[in-house]
Subunit: 414 residues, 2 copies
């Protein structure tokens, strides 16, 4: 079965002036999981002719085209006009849509700028897509069996609108194809090792599609297989999942979209454990990631950023003698920091990181990229790990943080 | 004078499978600063025909086309083949290039995989671009007065190679146009206010191009103007810079690429001040950003992540009575945390944040998005600020961190 194809058009001059395009990655993962093959993406400046040309190219290459951005009320929002031109259709003003927009403004007691009327313009034949979080409605157009979907640019508006329309796009273009999708997130394993372990799974599933993506010491693995019925897809999913977890299950910290920090949080919550951190070379990155999870105050108490040695001795109780004998970047110091964090903060588990992030400060014995991570607790348990990373300061720090989170995840699961 | 146009082609199936494309933003800013108008970007999967088609489209639209990725040694690295096809030229094996690649592997005492020979294939008429940080050389091709530049995908390799070739692209395509470029980074000001203040500058410079980009409570403003000689460009740059700083100078923390955290670091270093943090709702984000700067150990000592109230009282000495009377999210608590961090860590300046990041935990008096930031020192000085943000947990936290860094920047400059 050939999978339906999707293409992306990202509209906005800011995307060609320094703003990072995050829609592309976000949409690609979700389209793939719904069974689409994403064949390309174009970013275009706010120009009717250029946007229309990009839409025509995308419609020639794909069954479903997702266009993001350019649906606002101002003069440079011209995606509606571009879609009308690309499909050679007219634009018409919809009074009932304008009423909805007015009602929305009234709810927030905001004055309605006259230019917002442009948001009630609809391309001929379009189905209007509701936008619960903003004033710009979306539009879905059909042309010669293909779909052109217009969505607003702000993620808070675009994400839920896309999630709402995706199942219908899949039904329209996958035509009887049911998708078995498995996403597994791994940590504590290099991409190459994960890849090797998964090779037999790939061989066993010749018709499936696989993607392996490496982040900062995290690897995510996505697999999709097509089936002829919903029941067959469910069965295939169970088998595919079993095969994948059989190969790399020991490294998996989550399935689906869950992050390592939320998986750690779920474990701590389930076991009613509290956590404290002691961060040297990561300087707060670990605490920052742990507290990115809503509700993390239920298990995370806080910690000490012990960047200077004086903070390690005074605030974490690392003995001066220990520092003199082994140095701040050592197995011994990491363990003492983890114990110190636990004691100073009054937590069940203490997690510590110390290392040489670079670019300077490396020596022959302790090169840039050398990192020790340690966990103390729950109970009398303790574990220290030595890691060596290549790469930039940023990459060393990010990978050290991930490895530490993984160490805590393992400790909380024992 | 019409600016030369540039277009980007980003090669790699991973870009259409969930990997975030950061090259697009990085390249766009630098091309604009060199005087190019960036008219579009395409991301394409690893497929010769699709890459070649994207190259042809880009060459039709722009004077200079930058292609990133697909120059590795493996079977799916087909950018060389695609360029040969797009320009209807041959590929030839260059023994001298192969020798350079072999020498590189020898330096690292690595065995040379046979498939690496593909990296010594060069498109007819190409100038080889040296890659000091990897085995994949780049190539620059000329066709009908236009440039097609092939660069490897890894940022550590691509960035310096692009910086090396950019001045030559500007000379080739800007033909006697000299560019005056000014980049200013602002914080502590909403984008709309910065935009309004800069409107008269835009009006005064009708021929210049302006871009305003908003990040997490940071705004960056880029301006370029074309001049007919190097001397005229220097003079225009001085005038443009004076106009821009006249309009928004009080909000500027840096020019060029410097971040707020590195600008803060430079001030602290110059005044020989040390810094400590106390983070509640940001959970470590501020420490993480401060320590992202190489050499930050010269002025950053560390801090306390006081997520739980018990940590605020026990580790920062915030009086229990104060917490009972005003709550953890209060002007009083923020000030006490800043003083506490300074004292506990032994620093000249203490910086604190406390707030309601959401999505839960808000009340009528203290809604989600309410944040207090405080700085204590140097000397007897103290300042507390109340902020109210809309948006997601992530956005509230990121903006709180930026505003706190800006507060410390101002304190260190007085």
């Amino acid at each position: 079965m050939k999978p339906p194809r999707a293409a992306l058009v990202c509209v906005g001059s800011e995307l060609l002036a320094g703003q990072v395009n995050t829609h592309q990655a976000w949409l690609s993962v979700r389209l793939a999981r719904a069974g689409f093959e994403v064949v390309g993406e174009e970013s275009v400046v706010d120009d009717v002719a250029r946007i229309a040309a990009a839409m025509r190219r995308a419609l020639a290459a794909a069954d479903a085209v997702i266009v993001c951005g350019g649906l606002g009320p101002t003069f440079d929002d011209v995606t509606r006009e571009a879609a009308a031109r690309a499909l050679k259709r007219g634009l018409s003003f919809k009074p009932e849509l304008w009423k909805t927009i007015l009602a929305r403004f009234a709810r927030y007691r905001l004055p309605v700028p006259e230019e917002n009327k442009r948001q009630a313009l609809v391309v001929g034949g379009a189905e209007v897509l509701d936008n619960p979080n903003g004033s710009a409605p979306g539009q879905r157009l059909r042309a010669r069996g293909r779909s052109l979907v217009l969505l607003p640019g702000p993620p808070g508006e675009m994400y839920p609108m896309f999630e709402a329309v995706l199942p219908r796009l899949a039904r329209a273009h996958a035509r009887g194809v049911h998708i078995a999708a498995v996403s597994v997130r791994l940590s504590g394993v290099p991409e190459s090792v994960a890849d090797e372990r998964l090779a037999p799974v790939r061989a066993r599933w010749p018709g499936a599609r696989f993607t392996i993506l490496a982040g900062s010491a995290e690897v995510s693995f996505h697999a999709t297989a097509a089936a002829a019925s919903a029941a067959a897809a469910r069965a295939a999913r169970a088998r595919l999942r079993r095969d994948i977890l059989g190969a790399v299950g020991e490294f998996a910290h989550a399935e689906g979209d869950a992050t390592l920090e939320s998986a750690l949080g779920a474990r701590l919550k389930a076991r009613r454990l509290t956590l404290a951190v002691a961060e040297s070379c990561t300087g707060g990155l670990i605490g920052g990631r742990i507290t990115s999870v809503p509700g993390s105050s239920r298990y995370f108490l806080g910690g000490v950023i012990s960047y200077a040695d004086s903070v390690k001795t005074r605030r974490l109780g690392v003995p001066k003698k220990l520092l003199a004998a082994h140095g701040a970047v050592s197995r011994e110091c990491a363990a003492a920091m983890a114990r110190g964090a636990r004691r100073a903060i009054g937590a069940d588990v203490g997690l510590a990181v110390t290392g040489v992030a670079g670019p300077d400060g490396g020596t022959k014995e302790k090169p840039v990229g050398l990192v020790y991570i340690a966990v103390s607790g729950p109970g009398p348990r303790e574990k220290v790990k030595r890691l060596e990373y290549n790469g930039s300061r940023e990459s060393v720090r990010a990978r050290a943080a991930t490895s530490a989170l993984r160490l805590a995840f393992d400790a909380a699961g024992r």
